[in-house]
């Protein structure tokens, strides 16, 4: 609906109306830009003091006012990667089932439940993770992993229940709906002709999905996974409750760790010095930059698939 305002703009009421709407859009824009500006401004003292070494020094010590984010970056990246791998494996196959294999009486309720899972607040995931999953990890899952795969250093050492692996599993449960729902939508945009052509050549349903439909949708599915990764990287409360909150880099996935978002959540109200506060805000700025880059990438990937589907019709 272009140029509506221009055509009827001679009436004063309409001019005011358009101006008011434009004002709202400008306020919205100002909020977004203000968000970025305020984080940059707040991180300036820390940026000046620590420079880029902030990113690769590994001492996070409020007592001596020396701040390096490496252990936090490590914890954030590893917990999110565990989550993305787990959610990717289960989520993509779940999407394949929902888009192609499931009879309607199963597809509807399963999709519905998976979508509702996305609506569960993260503090509820955290509560469940802390009192149900963490003890299960400590008593059952971690010892089992150690018995079978204990020769790998990542499954060695004592398990406290809370740690990188537990955080990764909780995050996986939280992002599975994202992977599943978007992958399912992407798969349904692949034209039926391709499925029919493959089936008519004698391929089974499974071969059709794995060799024709999923490869055709791979950019979009990859986009869904990146988007889910973005959610995992910025997730705060649930991670804080189950990761153990210790700023150290350990080889074992059973070990407690810390993430960028959890540090802010735990320490912001306790930060006594200006440089401490500024270092925490710089972590926020880092999260902001990472999430913008990751989301932009995901949107470009998914956009390419949905646009292709539209032009094919």
């Amino acid at each position: 609906m272009r140029r509506l305002g221009a055509r009827t703009g001679s009436k004063i009421v309409d001019q005011i109306f358009v101006a008011v709407l434009l004002g709202a859009a400008i306020v919205f824009l100002a909020i977004i830009l203000g968000l970025a500006a305020s984080l940059v401004k707040g991180s300036l003292p820390s940026l000046r003091t620590f420079g880029f070494a902030f990113l690769w020094t590994s001492s996070w010590n409020p007592v001596t006012s020396i701040f390096g984010a490496l252990p936090l970056i490590y914890g954030t990246v590893i917990s999110s990667l565990i989550a993305t791998v787990l959610a990717g494996v289960f989520g993509i196959f779940a999407a394949v089932f929902l888009s192609d294999f499931a009879p309607a009486f199963l597809a509807r309720p399963l999709s519905f439940m998976i979508e509702l899972l996305a609506a569960v607040p993260s503090v509820v995931f955290g509560l469940w993770g802390l009192f149900v999953l963490a003890p299960a990890m400590r008593n059952t899952i971690d010892p089992a992993l150690q018995r079978t795969l204990g020769f790998l250093p990542i499954f060695s050492g004592p398990s406290y229940g809370v740690g990188l692996l537990t955080a990764g599993v909780i995050l996986a449960l939280m992002i599975i709906p994202t992977v599943t729902a978007i992958s399912r939508d992407v798969l349904t945009t692949i034209p039926a002709d391709q499925r029919e052509a493959s089936m008519s050549l004698g391929a089974t349903k499974w071969e059709t999905m794995m060799k024709v439909v999923v490869p055709a949708a791979r950019a979009g599915i990859f986009g869904a996974i990146i988007l889910a990764l973005g959610r995992a990287l910025g997730e705060t409360i649930a991670t804080t409750m189950v990761i153990g909150n210790r700023p150290e880099i350990a080889v074992s996935l059973f070990a407690p760790s810390y993430t960028l978002a959890s540090v802010i959540a735990n320490e912001f109200t306790e930060a006594t010095s200006d440089i401490y506060l500024s270092a925490l805000i710089e972590l926020g700025l880092l999260l902001l930059i990472v999430s913008v880059v990751v989301n932009a990438l995901a949107r470009i990937l998914m956009w390419s698939v949905f646009r292709g589907a539209r032009s094919a019709r």
Binding site: M1, R2, L4, G5, T8, V13, D14, F17, L21, A24, A25, V27, F28, L29, I32, L35, S38, L39, K41, F90, G91, A94, F97, L98, F101, L110, M113, I114, L116, L117, A119, V120, P121, S122, V123, V124, G126, F131, V132, L173, I176, P177, T180, T204, K205, W206, E207, M209, L227, G230, G234, T236, I237, A265, F268, G284, L287, V292, N295, R299
Partner: protein, 281 residues
């Protein structure tokens, strides 16, 4: 060349495996809800819903101030976000021209992916630090910023989905753009906009991270939004990580209230959307 038999087996295994994945993902919801309902119901009684939190060590007490606090903070957030969000959506749908509109749309998408904790930092810098005082108002502002991208997107789509001919008909009869938008376009788009609003409310009602340094929490009855205030989701968090068992139990109760509210809002939004789709020709 693989035998026909082995290909049939691979097919059956693959279909079964993908079914299991979908089934497990859905089962996670039931498992978590099951725990919340069973453990939460044990904590809920009349006192839990109507009393203030008791000091640690004294039996009983409730989360009444958190329930009220959630309603106040989310309510103010709706008052801040809905005019800005709906009007921005209207602008993008009706008067968007090139560069400015696509910039707004792109930044709105970007905003929807930003972690809520960084939005909390923004609210802190803007509304807490200058006054050196935590407040429910700053939490409402953070909530509003979280709601805006969803509101802008759903309002724009709702208004775009109104057939252009309806608007043109009104304009041809001599109505101003203002009146025809208000009287003709908005009433048709309204159910979709309300659906978006309900989903946005459901999203922020469970949000906890930005509250840590905005609303901050409070053990008292607090109705003044310029003071620190108890919020239900924050109570779930602080009671869960508390070393006291009695508070852990209350955390499950508060979580049940939160989950019921959030899922009810989601279901309501779906029902509204479905009736609208059915009503459309």
């Amino acid at each position: 060349m693989k035998s026909y038999r082995s290909r049939r087996i691979a097919d059956a295994v693959g279909v079964t495996w993908s079914f299991l994945c979908a089934f497990l993902a859905a089962a996670v919801l039931l498992i978590i809800l099951g725990y919340i309902v069973v453990k939460g119901a044990a904590a809920i009684n009349w006192q839990f819903l109507t009393q203030l939190p008791h000091p640690v060590g004294i039996e009983g007490g409730g989360v009444a101030n958190g329930i009220v606090g959630s309603i106040i903070t989310v309510g103010i957030a709706v008052l801040i976000a809905s005019p800005i969000g709906i009007m921005t959506g209207l602008y993008l749908a009706l008067f968007s021209r090139g560069g400015f509109a696509s910039t707004v749309r792109f930044l709105s998408d970007v905003l929807s992916g930003i972690p809520s904790i960084t939005i909390g930092l923004f609210a802190y810098a803007l509304l807490v630090a200058p006054f050196k005082h935590f407040s429910a108002l700053s939490a409402s502002f953070a909530f509003a910023v979280l709601m805006l991208p969803l509101l802008v997107r759903t309002s724009e789509e709702a208004i775009r989905s109104v057939p252009r001919a309806i608007l043109e008909g009104a304009l041809a009869l001599g109505m101003t753009t203002f009146r025809s938008t208000l009287r003709i376009v908005l009433p048709v788009a309204w159910p979709s906009i309300v659906t978006g609003l309900l989903l946005a409310i459901a999203r922020v009602a469970g949000e906890t991270a930005p509250l840590l340094f905005t609303a901050f929490g409070s053990p008292f009855w607090e109705l003044n939004p310029t003071n620190p205030m108890a919020v239900l989701s924050l109570q779930v968090f602080t009671y869960a990580i508390s070393p006291y068992r009695s508070q852990n139990v209350q955390s499950w109760g508060a979580a049940l209230l939160l989950v019921v509210a959030v899922l009810a809002l989601n279901l309501l939004a779906r029902v509204l959307l479905r009736t609208r789709i059915r009503a459309a020709p």
